[in-house]
Symmetry: C2
Subunit: 302 residues, 2 copies
């Protein structure tokens, strides 16, 4: 009797282009994949993959076999989905990624509430600001914060929130600079704090309420992707920073941070999530997506 799991391993090894990348993606030892495929080839009496340390190419017979194996996996997945659809309670593992700053504002609490409400759901969360390859990394949901326009993609997109941005500075810095700036060019000699990586351009893209746009290049004295750190530095008077309004409401209300050029708004950012496809999605993933969309919607009514 053939080991049907070996057909799965074959498909995954091919999709990832090698045993090592497939092993990393699946969380299993590459030695297992090497052994399983070698045994499969021996049992079938054919070579499915011509491989060396640098080459990993399917044979012609491997190609033919691959199509059927993939069809088999689709049927197996359909079987599992049948069960999920018939079940009333979401369960299973959700693999989720989220930028760190976003996680600390609202998403962390949302996930905690979600997991409290659906105790049979397991969430594997990676908090990271790096770009995620959703398909290659087997991620179910990737949360993102990006400015318009969103880049074209094969992934399905769900917008959660349109996030306003604000340039702010501490009252102390404003005083030291001789008062608030009157126009965007006045900012060129103000110290800036940048939420980017060191190699990226440091630009404030500002749009006037009347419509025109100005790009203000600046040389930052502090560069990090961590928004909490940037806010802390801004409050200490280190420089001007562009941050989401949502994380500034207290300080603006208390006057510990002042809005800079309020009639010139930085480019808005969309909080959104992406996932590979509606096909193959377990109900728990769909429930989480809807849960977060609902939560953000209720926040924006406040």
């Amino acid at each position: 009797m053939q080991d049907l799991n070996d057909l799965y391993y074959f498909v995954k090894a091919v999709e990832h282009g090698g045993f090592a990348p497939a092993g990393r993606a699946l969380g299993i030892a590459k030695s297992k994949l090497s052994r399983r495929i070698a045994l499969l080839e021996e049992q079938l009496g054919v070579r499915l993959i011509q491989r060396s340390t640098r080459h990993f190419l399917m044979t012609e017979v491997g190609h033919r076999y691959f199509e059927h194996c993939r069809a088999m996996l689709i049927e197996a997945e359909a079987a599992r989905e049948t069960i999920e659809l018939l079940r009333s309670e979401p369960r299973g593992i959700i693999r989720l990624t989220c930028p760190v700053g976003l996680l600390h504002f609202h998403v962390g609490q949302m996930l905690a509430d979600f997991m409290h409400e659906y105790p049979h759901v397991v969430v594997y969360l990676e908090a990271t600001n790096r770009r995620i390859d959703v398909l290659a990394e087997g991620v179910d949901i990737a949360l993102r914060v990006r400015p318009l326009p969103l880049e074209d993609s094969d992934l399905v997109v769900r917008v959660l929130s349109d996030r306003g941005q604000c340039l702010v500075a501490s009252p102390d810095l404003v005083t030291r600079m001789g008062g608030l700036p009157a126009q965007p060019d006045d900012l060129r000699h103000w110290p800036g704090l940048s939420r980017a990586t060191p190699q990226e351009q440091h630009v404030w893209v500002l749009q006037h309420i009347a419509g025109q746009t100005q790009n203000i290049r600046f040389t930052p004295r502090y560069v990090t992707t961590d928004m909490v750190a940037l806010k802390t530095a801004a409050m200490a008077g280190a420089g001007v920073v562009q941050l989401p309004l949502l994380m500034l409401s207290e300080q603006l209300k208390a006057g510990s941070l002042l809005s800079v050029l309020p009639e010139w708004a930085p480019r808005r950012e969309l909080i959104h999530l992406v996932y590979p496809s509606r096909r193959g999605m377990i109900p728990a993933v769909r429930v989480l997506i809807d849960f977060m969309a609902t939560r953000y919607a209720s926040m924006e009514e406040d």
Copy 2:
């Protein structure tokens, strides 16, 4: 990651109506099936089979799952067939049954020749005169010798040879009985040898060359299903026996056995084989079927 083999076990357990019969048919421990299905149910979070020591019923959700699992197995089998079709050399395991007497005449030598010619084919042979349930026992080919008409069946039938029968006795017995019989009724007081089981009727069904049929009941002095033993006893003068012409040609030619009532022929028997279906048949099975058909055809030209 779901264990795809569990889907196979689920389908097989259901098809055989229990873990014990499925275990026997597949040659694996019922405890394994019990464990695998229990784990599968736990992982899916549903009950697939309501079972006790006497009841084995799929749930509704089990039914839905079953259809998809079976579709998956069909795809897996298609994958394997793809490989077989692309291979030039027959290989794999063939499960074969054959009546003992037939095996000793020709089939044994045929199988030896076949295995010599196709060294990558493994043959599991059961030599037995009992009735074989081809589907339940997972047999690829069952060889049979039966009189016309062949019984209706879901199995595919391939006739290999139309086997003439002959009543024979030794010259010594003929002398002791006062010469050859003139008509069938004369045989009633001749000692007979029966190729049957003790509970079966002992009847010679004789058909005249002009068409009429006579049934001659006899009380055998020797009953066995082993045709070689019957022939040996006949040659020793123990009685009259009905045997296939094919195993008598030497003795008839040498005169060590004489044809009794040559114008009354016993019912002919068909040597044939049955198999479950052309779908799912590995090439090696098809090659063996054709091999035997060719061999019997060449024998009948002699």
